[in-house]
């Protein structure tokens, strides 16, 4: 079965996979609202129902879902660094479409080559070495006949860095864990604080690193937290029996994200 016909029953969409792709590309479905994990689950269900893995369609699925993930991650990371984005979402969508077309084209071309090979099946060619008397004599080249510059040029070519696969759209501000640890410790000295307070106005990366720093403090027994309800405030405080002097014992945490 072609992956295009995979039937999906998702929160925001019901229908075949290829239609979903089309709607996403036309921006009639907001990719941000679409749970790609559910698409993967639907595919896995489909695989289980069939009881066999068809490599061709599995490859196709992985290509498409990876493209959607990339597209979605770009959309999600749209933020203050907009102007740094070198690929706009529309352009990314165009790329995805072009890539799908390309993959389809060359898969068909591969089929054509397979047919050509099949048609040639009965023809064999002679593969025999030349009789000894006819073998080519290879002369050793004269001393100094090669120029050393050729070696330098070859190394120069090998030094050329391939253009980096641009991750600029996943712009990663460097946030030091040490810095966030210091901030959290400062807040802890006051007794307790809410996590929201610790990350107010911060970007996603800083929030993530702050959470990481908080986990680190928890591990060291310097902090504990409560959360009254899901998605509710996280109240951070010193553990009931905070080891005395723990605040000054903490070593330098130099990791950075």
């Amino acid at each position: 079965m072609s992956i295009a016909r995979l039937e999906l029953d998702l929160e925001v969409f019901t229908g075949p996979f290829d239609l979903l792709l089309t709607l996403v590309l036309r921006e009639e479905i907001d990719l941000l609202e679409l749970s790609l994990a559910d698409v993967v689950l639907a595919y896995l269900d489909h695989l289980e129902a069939r009881g066999e893995l068809e490599l061709e369609s599995a490859t196709e699925f992985i290509v498409l879902i990876a493209a959607l993930l990339e597209l979605k991650s770009r959309l999600m990371l749209l933020g203050e660094d907009d102007e740094e984005l070198d690929i706009e979402p529309e352009q990314a969508a165009e790329e995805l479409l072009a890539r799908m077309l390309d993959a389809r084209r060359y898969r068909a071309a591969a089929g054509h080559l397979g047919a050509l090979l099949e048609a040639e099946r009965g023809h064999r060619f002679r593969e025999a070495p030349l009789p000894p008397g006819l073998r080519r004599t290879v002369l050793a080249p004269a001393a100094g006949s090669e120029h050393p510059d050729a070696l330098g040029a070859a190394i120069g070519r090998l030094l050329a860095m391939a253009p980096e696969i641009s991750l600029r759209h996943v712009s990663v501000p460097r946030v030091a864990v040490a810095e966030r640890l210091a901030l959290l410790r400062g807040l802890l000295r006051r007794g307790s604080f809410s996590f929201e307070e610790a990350v107010r106005g911060a970007d996603r990366m800083t929030v993530a690193v702050t959470l990481f720093a908080l986990l680190e403090l928890y591990k060291r027994g310097e902090a504990d937290w409560d959360q009254g309800e899901s998605f509710g405030e996280i109240d951070v405080h010193r553990p009931a029996a905070a080891p005395a002097g723990a605040l000054s014992l903490a070593g330098p945490a130099a990791a950075s994200a």
Binding site: E56, A103, R105, A110, L113, G122, R124
Partner: protein, 196 residues
């Protein structure tokens, strides 16, 4: 066969011997130079050989492939050849290899990262196998230093092609207007369903 086989002019015999010896197809110009003859005379010799080696007259057939002329066995003898050599003439290609080969054939020269980009998965093992089987070869470097690949004469020979020009336009496999129309129609229906 009661007729006595006719004598064959010397130039045709020489061309026949060269084609027999060479494992690569030989171009008209190469043959002419080796035979110290004009291209016209060699063309006439090739016509004679084509007649002598026509299917039904010989187990060895003359073919124009890969930019030159070469001898091949007549497919009618394939069963016997398989029994004698106990292996198929060429292993078949896996889908990944066929797809990689198609990309190299149409886009040459093309680098591995480009192939991977089009296929959406790494092409390393397919490229290695195709290199190994002599169907593709290195053709220098891209501007970023990646090695680029092209197809070989061996590819043309095994796929029965005289030249790359014989490959059909890749655009012929693009979706047809009907297919696109069908997609559009389904899109409209889905859009209405969403609106309603």
């Amino acid at each position: 066969m009661s007729e006595r086989p006719a004598n064959v002019p010397r130039l045709a015999r020489t061309v026949e011997a060269l084609l027999f010896l060479s494992s690569d197809p030989l171009a008209l110009a190469e043959l002419a130079e080796a035979c110290e003859a004009g291209e016209g005379a060699v063309t006439a010799a090739l016509a004679l050989l084509a007649e002598r080696h026509a299917p039904g007259r010989s187990g060895i057939v003359l073919r124009e492939l890969g930019g030159g002329w070469t001898f091949a066995s007549d497919p009618a003898s394939e069963d016997a050849a398989r029994r004698l050599f106990s292996r198929p003439r060429v292993a078949t290609l896996t889908p990944a290899q066929a797809e990689t080969l198609a990309i190299v054939a149409y886009l040459q020269s093309v680098s591995r990262p480009e192939i991977a980009r089009i296929r959406g998965v790494s092409a390393d093992s397919a490229v290695a196998t195709l290199l190994d089987r002599g169907l593709i070869e290195e053709a220098g470097h891209s501007q970023f230093g990646a090695i680029v690949y092209r197809t070989t004469t061996q590819f043309l020979k095994l796929f029965g092609l005289r030249s790359l020009d014989e490959l059909p336009d890749v655009a012929r496999w693009d979706p047809t207007p009907e297919e696109q129309g069908e997609l559009r129609e389904r899109l409209m229906r889905a859009g209405e369903a969403r609106a309603g």
